[in-house]
Amino acid sequence: MCDQTFMAATFGPCDNCSKASPLMNIYIKTEAINYCSFCMEMMACQGLQKGETLVSLKRESDTLKKKLEEERAKLNDVELHQVAEKVEVLGALPIKTRRVLKGHGNKVLCMDWCKDKRRLVSSSQDGKVIVWDAFTLNKEHGVTMPCTWVMACAYAPSGCAVACGGLDNKCSVIPLSLDRNENLAAKKKSVAMHTNYVSGCTFTNSDNQLLTSSGDGSCALWDVESGQLLQSFHGHTADVLSLDLAPSETGNTFVSGGCDKKANVWDMRSGQNIQSFESHDSDINCVKYYPSGDAFASASDDATCRFFDLRADREVAVYQKDSIIFGATTVDFSLSGRLLFAGYNDYTINVWDVLKGTRASCLFGHENRISRVRVSPDGTALCSAAWDNTLRIWA
């Protein structure tokens, strides 16, 4: 509608040159423009110039892309595993299943630890969100969400609330109360509204701000109290599947990964995309920062996990093996960053030596795809959630 131009003839002063002459009344995007025929031709020529600008812009973007690649390649003087040759090889890791948390009726899609290092929250395909005490295997709270496929859940830093979201396109915050008889579902508060499923959520350093990623290709920062959108992050060209907040107290950046095979680093305050990494061959399922905050790892459907350094602005390691052909769905680092735990669709968790690039161990036990692995806040245990309806604690 806005692109149509209507021509009609009148006589009067031209909008552009103010000379009285026969005017062509045209509408450009619903705006009435009355030019004489000479000014019309001038405008049409300028339109041609715009066409040229498009071509020159394309040329500039191609040269910039090439320049970026060259700059990044120049700094690649050595590989990470070469630098790490002098580091001691890891001994056998004594990690075994110590607890099995049964109680979900369907695939467990997500889990998160509480800062008190013993509680965790998990969400599943049947809409149930359960808060567990990992030491005693007690189920402390259970909430039924009105939608199925609760793909994201997170514990608030204070331990007093949990956030969860999924196919309902929303992320809701549920305050946890000590009173067991209280109906938690009634106090649920919808905070985030997206136009497609919510794939990941995390609280920022306080209980009052929530960061979400969605299948609509955007990430967003919300104020929990008012439900207001504080900042939105656009740049992905496909579903965003995962996000992770930078670990430092003062840090205000986060990384997101999605189906467009890109991992983007964002500035939370300005909404600007600071860095972008594109080296995976398929969807990125999960991203996680290295404990120092200078690097991050990603897990992808191309059966590899990759390690990207933010200061060198490039990929520095690839964790892959010919025998691993199933996609990796989730990654997490151990406390020192030496171990990378990665869950795969072949029901196993591979433990990679981050520095040397070799596989240190393989954890078997789950009977279906691993959907999430998370190391506890004090680093003593690893929790894994899987499509076999259980969660396992490894230590």
């Binding site: 995007k29 715009k50 600008t53 498009l54 812009l57 394309k58 973007s61 910039l64 892309k65 320049k67 970026l68 700059e71 700094l75 690649n76 003087d77 050595v78 590989e79 990470l80 630098v83 790490a84 580091v87 890891l90 890791l93 004594p94 990690i95 110590r98 990992a134 030491f135 740049g235 600007q272 995309n273 600071i274 860095q275 290295y290 404990p291 120092s292 200078d294 690097a295 350094d309 200061r311 060198a312 602005d313 490039r314 520095v316 151990s334 406390l335 020192s336 960053g337 030496r338 171990l339 981050v354 520095l355 190391v375 004090d378 680093g379 003593t380 245990a381 690893l382 604690i393 230590a395």
Partner: protein, 68 residues
């Protein structure tokens, strides 16, 4: 008009690329050395790496006491 919207989109792409091209980068050798340093410094405090005894790790089973 479709040409002006693709123009705007193209301008955004070039703007973003210019921004990305201008950031400071360090050499991989430097970055790798720092990553390695961080790992080694914190290795002793990493329970999953070093393994902790049953008494301090709440998840490990306690040694079973048996009646004699």
């Amino acid at each position: 008009m479709s040409s002006s919207s693709s123009l705007v989109a193209m301008k955004k792409v070039v703007h973003q690329l210019r921004f990305e091209a201008s950031i400071n980068r360090v050499k991989v050798s430097q970055a790798a050395a720092d990553l390695q340093q961080f790992c080694i410094q914190n290795a002793t405090q990493d329970p999953l790496l070093t393994g902790v005894s049953s008494s301090t790790n709440p998840f490990r089973p306690q040694k079973v006491c048996s009646f004699l």
